[in-house]
Symmetry: C2
Subunit: 315 residues, 2 copies
């Protein structure tokens, strides 16, 4: 067992991330055996139908008992229960990691239940789609996406390095930071954007003056992009907000302040303030494209319009 | 000159929408002659290089003098000046339309300057990409997108019908409503989403605890989708907010209220409230996909990940 390879890996939870990891570990030959465990019988059966693993277990304790790497891929709210269940069954030197979108809370939930002879190395692959479940996974999900490792004080350096190699083999770039800094970074880049998207979609659904049919029909004007985010897994996201309260409230406070300043600019017709902001935000967009985190191709005119383009443009 | 065909069409302004209209009118044979006018010499020269029209004019008055249909495709803030300039040069029975994202203000700006012998029929094709300029246009932009006509009291019914046929020929579905209702519908489906996106991108840029590099690197977690909207044309959007103050402030007030309620749920750990909303918003997403306004395919894992999928999935 050297570098990025683990003889036996247990995946606890087999949703979008777990199933994508199963595909990726096979594709990149990162393990000899994938043990899959999930609480619900029908999800486990589906994972088996999809041939995602080598063995299937309703008991997480059984799945981890001989594993060299355990990756907890459940919603964040289930991590404490999982750690409590698997803790006594971990073999000496076993690595325990996760994929949760919050990190301070994961450390607080899991660390107390893990034995000293296990190696704890929390991780967060910043990747996803709006789909969920074992059918949603694909090997390339992590490609060109960042994976953030947030070691705790007693995580050995070689464990950080081994997990870095593992995630790099999955196609990710790897960063290392503290759990606290992670939670603030993700609050602005992911959690608050999701909360805002959920919120505006809810506002639209509740309007009396504009019908839902109208909202759907005219959604191509911008609203549509929010609904895609707001279609993400409800359980996962509830857990994120309950478990990154501090980061989310900090960023949300700043956002609300900024939005109210903009509202004031609209009310008072301050075109210069609006124009200055709208120009500044273009630079951020360029930075994201240069950082390889999005495609530059126009995307608002998607679906049929985009497909028809090559034939009809410039006729 | 019958049904959807106009012998001579003048496009005043040749950005994304104007150039797409030029492509579409050619592709679908909706006119014999496209006269293009724009204020800036270099934009006009670029339109000519791209062969978007049949004649090119720095003077809007000259472009419209023999036109049967004039479509004003400038930013909303320029419409009054354009109407004042072209009003005295319109031939009897000429149709005057536009493509502005606000409608009450367009009516207020343009109507007083148009002669009684012209037919005024404001329009808003709800279509676009985050690109701008004469190079950005393509014929299929309007396909499967809605175009909203907002006739004024003295617009004849046959003019509404003729413009309906024209936009349907461009691939659009056509709706007719009052300018006031249009402005409220668009405030929720387009204007407020854009203001929110601009705002959160600004908030991110100003954080001291999280660097811009970090924001860009981790943007795939959701933030990225906001930056795409927030890269739209600054002049166009400034004008939208200055000219739909009432609709925007109404919807923004409701959104802020809803967001603050969510913030409270996060602070107090009310998981049920969060879960209920997050479940409700999924239904709206499904409605949009069923209405043909977006693709159901997963889109967060875009670019390389998506391209690699067919080869590597399920290995």
């Amino acid at each position: 067992m050297s570098d990025k390879h683990f003889k036996r890996v247990a995946l606890i939870g087999i949703g979008l991330i777990g199933s994508s990891l199963a595909h990726a570990m096979r594709a990149y030959k990162l393990t000899d055996h994938i043990a899959i465990s999930t609480r619900r019988q029908e999800t486990l059966a589906r994972a088996e139908e999809l041939e995602l693993g080598d063995s299937y277990h309703l008991s997480a304790a059984e799945a981890v008992s001989d594993a060299d790497l355990i990756i907890v891929c459940t919603p964040v709210g289930a991590c404490e229960a999982v750690a409590r269940e698997i803790g006594p069954h971990l073999k000496p030197g076993a690595y325990v990691s996760d994929v949760g979108s919050v990190k301070s809370s994961i450390v607080a939930q899991m660390k107390p239940h893990l034995p000293d002879h296990a190696v704890f190395i929390p991780a967060h692959p910043v990747a996803g789609t709006e789909q969920s479940g074992p059918d949603a996974g694909f090997a390339a999900l992590f490609r060109q996406r960042w994976c953030i490792l947030t070691p705790v004080p007693d995580t050995p350096d070689e464990a950080v390095e081994k997990m870095r190699l593992f995630w790099e083999a999955c196609g990710s770039d790897v960063d290392v930071m503290t759990p606290e800094h992670h939670d603030l970074v993700l609050a602005i880049t992911s959690h608050v954007p999701h909360l805002i998207a959920y919120s505006i979609v809810g506002t639209a659904a509740d309007l009396e003056q504009v019908t839902r049919g109208e909202v759907m029909k005219y959604s191509a004007g911008g609203f549509r992009d929010f609904t895609r985010i707001a279609a993400s897994d409800p359980t996962m996201w509830r857990d994120v907000f309950l478990n990154n309260k501090e980061g989310v409230l900090e960023i949300l406070g700043r956002f609300t302040e900024d939005l109210i300043a903009l509202q004031r600019a609209v009310r008072w017709g301050d075109g210069d303030q609006l124009f200055d902001l709208f120009t500044r935000t273009r630079a951020i967009r360029r930075g994201i494209i240069e950082a390889g985190q999005d495609a530059a191709e126009p995307d608002f005119g998607r679906q049929l319009a985009a497909e028809a383009k090559p034939d009809e443009d410039g006729l």
